[in-house]
Symmetry: D3
Subunit: 325 residues, 6 copies
């Protein structure tokens, strides 16, 4: 069986009364904040098909509020066993230990099957020098190997494309600053070797006076469709009482992914349920992974920076929504 | 039947256990956030008696988070039909189109019956140049005519008096800045023609170390009573986790409305119910309209910048409360 | 009967499913926000054994949002009778009236039995000149006498030790600024007479990237144990949507209390229940008092700056937790 | 002799080495900061022809740093006698005293001959409620009469046009906030009576990444030319060490002055001399008045918020410069 | 000869053209920034009569920009020999070493002869925990002894009175925050032993819209006169391009020095000379010491945080100026 | 003659009275702000030996305050001819035009001879998306070719090493934010092709409480010496009146240049002359280029963001200074 043969999607049909292209799972939150003995919260988590079941890398903040990423496995994508210990990365080459001296603060992982392995990207505070994009890989979700960081600080929300494009690996990311960044655009970068990155291109900016007016950041690994790369992303509005994180959808050009083919005006999902509105950070919906099966799609998203949730829809509907149809 | 003959108030008697001068309707929120197919939230809404029933102008933020005002009608003031399309204003004269070129961001409307028609005032982002007070009118809540803006930016919470005072039209407003204004006093202005405004007078300022320490702004159209104009208003406190909007009451001099006759020390209502505490903006109670019938009064207020609610009381009690009796 | 003979603790055994060293009382919140006719909120309250029952000093914000401290009594520590009128302090000497001219804003009291009376310390805005530490005493929780303020502004969270140490009275406090202070360390100060203070020593600082990264402040009166002074304290993290207040525990040296013997990495309790997450200030757990009986301990804490709650545990567990055992 | 018959301009020919359209007077600063016994600074001053000589209204900050406006007279426009006492305005009607109760902080005056008298506009802190545009008039620069304020706070840099346009009086102003406003556009407003104002129209905005990127404000009374109203104005750039105020020029449409006919990309004058770079506020060039004689123009400007200076040029050159010719 | 027998004042008569109560020395700056081989700047310096000549303690920032205090001696008060090495304090008792572990950042000293020795107070960053008031003493300006810090952080500008008042030692200080404090009032505190301090009383606040609107801080040791303690102090205004520090004068009650008898509206001296306007911090005049001889007074002040200057006047004139005569 | 055969250094011997390792040229500023007809300022300029004379790339801000880089030539390094037109870059490959669509804001260039050509790096606002490091090259200082940008925004002060190290090209840069960045560390990055960059390593951070406490950034191209790469750099301190830019020196390891071998505690040069203290940005000394001849070194630096200056010294002295000898 292929490494990423897939179990059935953790699918739910559209409930009556739901008219939008994405609907919440009634089992939400599927992962509670205290699943682990010392976990404060488990959210912003990356799930992929793995050996006929599912595996994932999870953001787990412990009760010291240290941010770390943990591996986990699930038969059905809903009930999860998450390792109590954070992932310890093996250096991928002799120079990687230089960036591992004080390994702290790994968060908001994404996982992408690329060529022959699962690549993990995450927000990585290299030796405490501010967030940048960590890169690693695994075959088995037990041993993880770390490569060099992709970019200079300050960067967040690095997401790999699942295949080379125009002969180069591609990554989306959001240049940031060293705090609760009040700005942020999505960029595309290319690499010949997953080690050196260049050809940085601007992809999309916030749109004033909308749910995505403060900053935007890529969510799950882009999904290849005949009409373009389907990108689920988060957008942030600043209310007088703080940030509001919602989810939107765009289509990027298949060959030049820094060109936006379509982009929804409306959000797909905004914080409207108590578990999205109340928690360690109020009013957060933050997608980090998506599973697909045919036209079906199940999206994992963090809620209120506290718990992990699921929403479901159909890819063709999302494309229509991105196109404003 | 007069245009503003009135249906029965959407009244509720004081529930047992409520001792304050204003009590919430148990049907709250009476308008849910998703009443319209694309509405994100419906709040800060202005309701008036209309043809034996009720009509209103409603702040509707859609799922792009565009702010717009929509007309609506209701037989009982509780169950509302709100137009899916935002109000499109007809220019009131040849020069009004100059301020309509990029009509965006209309919010927080008030409606006042003045002489022979319903005037609408709202927070209007004239061609994107920051908020000021838009002015328009309607006879039938179907066709709306726009006049010129009342003031220079930046201004919010413009509310007309329901009759000329001392030979001039009167309006309350709150000069602001171009963001989430952290200050704000109520002023009174006069006009001979609803087009040019002057004789600006300071009415009331925030009071340090109280629920109204950051800013204050007029709410519903002032209500004429023998003891003065009864003004319901919002006051804002800045906690370490953001703004808290509460409701208070004052009495203004009948002939010189910029003179405060009485003003409550205590708030009338502060955010204490989940629908007021949790939503797109936490901890907001924001009154925009009031209906009266004899001594009874029903107040419409926005809650958490998300939904529309009702509270009820008696005018004489409110006067006593304003006077600290 | 001694003045502080003790009624039974308001104890609750550990509920099943709770594994931490401190667990919440299922009766929470034990004091609702509207216990008094004009109270907006009752929280951050100090309780002590008193004449075979319990007495306390309570932070009560009224509906003007004036902050004041009120006395209260309870037979069981759960059901409270709180005076409707705020405490009016009698000057302790001829010069105290100089600091009482405009007595406003008293909040966050602590009560400590020291030698022969109950001392009250609180955050006191002396004549409006910013917060500092007010000091007073009572024998009967009916008449209260005020001494001079302990320190210059700006200071908050002053807590007395229950006996002299090295021949001097000891107090913990947190130097602050004049707003919603975004920093704050705990200091120890000494006094020969409870009037003049010196020998200020730094005790503990925030710890970056944890639940206590923004500021820390002493909570209840330190509890003497063979292993050191047991200090429950609050720590604050700044999320992108505001402050989050949690509770932690440390051990201070018995003879040199400015030396930290042990300090927990993890929080004891963070805002995870609706009454801690939603209210006038979201996400606040703030301990101000603790009762003990043998190894048992019951902690009073304010929740969401709105209500008063209880949590229970065992002292030896707290010591172990502080030591990371 | 007409009231505004004119003495010779305080003219200087272009010095060799100066190539720009405006050159500084070698007598700069023509008014020193300590011309009056208690003056801290004299700057941002408005000069007009008067009875065959010159008169003016001057911003004088005294050594308390109270901002006030004083009248002055000069035979040649260079050597000035300025009244030691600030102007005391006589109320223009029965309601003006309402805005004069606590008359403080008058600054940055402009003077305009309109129909039959000299109108003075200035930045006026009506009863301490933040800056707005004060309006008054004089015939003789000895007695001054005050009208009502033109606008609601917060506003600065109000400048009248020297004749009615389209049947209405016209004024430029810059809506502001209550501090050192970090934004600011120029607007045009109309009045039938110099008392009530409306028909507010946006005229010009800052231009990003230029010397006028932070804010712009009208300078001297606009000068009528066949090609439009010649408007000298100030523009502000925010460097990492503060604001830099420079002078620019634009042409406004003669009949619809809110339409910009031409506007210079380059500044006319920026702070490059020690008296412009060093003083109470570093790096300020701020024009408030201009005298013309045929094609000649002499501009009065404040330097470093400390002294008053002169620069000279030709109107046709300024028009060319505005048009980028 | 008494330890503080005095050499002739470094006096200068009033130059013609100077009309104010204080005039600058034409030898300014009397101490250049680079008097020492590694000095970046020498300013905010405290000078006293010493053994028939003068001695002082000087703020010297070296070229690392480390702030330290150095001792110096001068025959005439103008030509100074300053020690190249910073003062190393001997602990005054066994517990002082606890606050000396990481001795860094000593600045803005004052020196006061009190009873039998010269006391030095300075802004002292105890172990890096933010500024507070360091206290020490010397007999010979060679050996210096350190006592415990007077107050908790954050505090600056601590100045001792030259004799006990009402049986207690007195000190003025300005509670601050941990940065470039944008607020600050002067307080008076009492001590029985120069070790413990209490009875803190507010003395004077900034005055809005004046040269002293942002903060005020005591300057030289108060000078006893029949009309009260003569206090020279600095006041700060915040312009749109930063702080402006000026000098003013007040009279405090002889027996209750927290009561202000008189206070000048106007500044005595503001930054108007290039050496006060240009330097490491623009626009600073900051007095730290004064010498008197009969009615004559010579004031030492720091200029532009870079050099040390002198100004002269007469005490009776300063009293008149404080009284507004 | 080799392309970079060198003319005599623009050398000056140490003047008497100068004791530091670097002394200013008495001809300063060598390039005035108005050398070009429309130049506002010429500073932060990069000079290299070229064809027996000197060539350079200069930051020229015009009077619109547009920032651009211009080429220039000089026989002696002191008298410069600078092109009136800004450099227009020819795209280096087919994809470079994607980043040239709206070419605006090029500033702070450095020039490095690397292998066979002169590489230019500069701060480049790619299509207005915030600053990053532009890369180009020239042979003749007439035609310039642009490569792709090195990094994602936000970045400034990119400086190439003059030879490959460990088989890779090396560049220093300072990750920044989108404004007047109040932080900034120096990083080292590697590239196989000058197009893709990786292996980012932290080099040096600001040092609290010194002249380099806010941010640091590389200056001229590092100079290879037997003891390491000699790096001149700028460091910034934030005073209460703004940033102060000074110059320092460090030694980086020859083979692993991200390792700091030595670093001066003291600054080499801080703003102490009027042309460094007064100008468009006060208090700026900013080195961008250095010429060497044997042990001699001449450093070009921008002063007050307004003019270009020269300072001279000896390399061995700078090494000693870096080592604190």
């Amino acid at each position: 069986m292929s490494m990423h043969a897939q179990a059935p999607l953790p699918w739910r049909e559209r409930p009556s009364g739901e008219s939008g292209p994405l609907w919440r799972d009634e089992r939400n939150p599927i992962i509670p904040r205290d699943l682990l003995p010392r976990s404060n919260s488990i959210f912003n988590s990356a799930v992929v098909p793995f050996e006929g079941a599912y595996a994932g890398v999870f953001r787990v903040d412990d009760r010291t509020r240290t941010m770390a990423i943990h591996a986990g496995r699930s038969a059905d994508g809903v009930a999860w066993e998450i390792d109590e210990a954070a992932i310890v990365f093996v250096p991928g080459d002799a120079r990687v230990p230089e960036i591992q001296q004080r390994f702290v603060h790994a968060y908001d992982p994404r996982v992408t099957w690329l060529e022959d392995r699962y690549y993990v990207t995450w927000c990585n505070s290299y030796n405490g020098h501010g967030p940048t994009i960590g890169v690693g890989w695994t075959i088995d979700f037990r041993q993880f190997t770390q490569l060099d960081n992709a970019f200079l600080p300050f960067n967040r929300n690095g997401v790999l494309f699942p295949r080379p494009i125009g002969g180069a690996y591609g990554m989306l990311s959001r240049p940031s600053d060293d705090g609760h960044t009040p700005f942020g655009d999505i960029y595309y970068s290319e690499s010949p070797d997953l080690l050196h990155w260049g050809r940085h291109r601007h992809v999309m900016a916030p749109i004033p006076w909308t749910w995505q007016s403060t900053k935007v950041g890529a969510g799950p690994t882009p999904i290849e469709t005949p009409e373009g790369w389907l990108l689920l992303y988060h957008g942030v509005l600043t209310s007088c009482n703080g940030f509001v994180y919602s989810m939107g959808v765009a289509l990027l050009d298949l060959e030049e992914p820094w060109k936006v083919v379509a982009r929804s005006n409306d959000y797909l999902l905004s914080p409207q349920r108590p578990y999205e509105q109340v928690g360690d950070v109020q009013n957060v919906v933050f997608p980090c992974a998506a599973l697909t099966e045919g036209d079906r799609i199940s999206v994992y998203y963090g809620a209120a920076d506290t718990v992990t949730c699921l929403a479901h829809g159909r890819i063709t509907d999302l494309i229509d929504f991105a196109r404003g149809r």
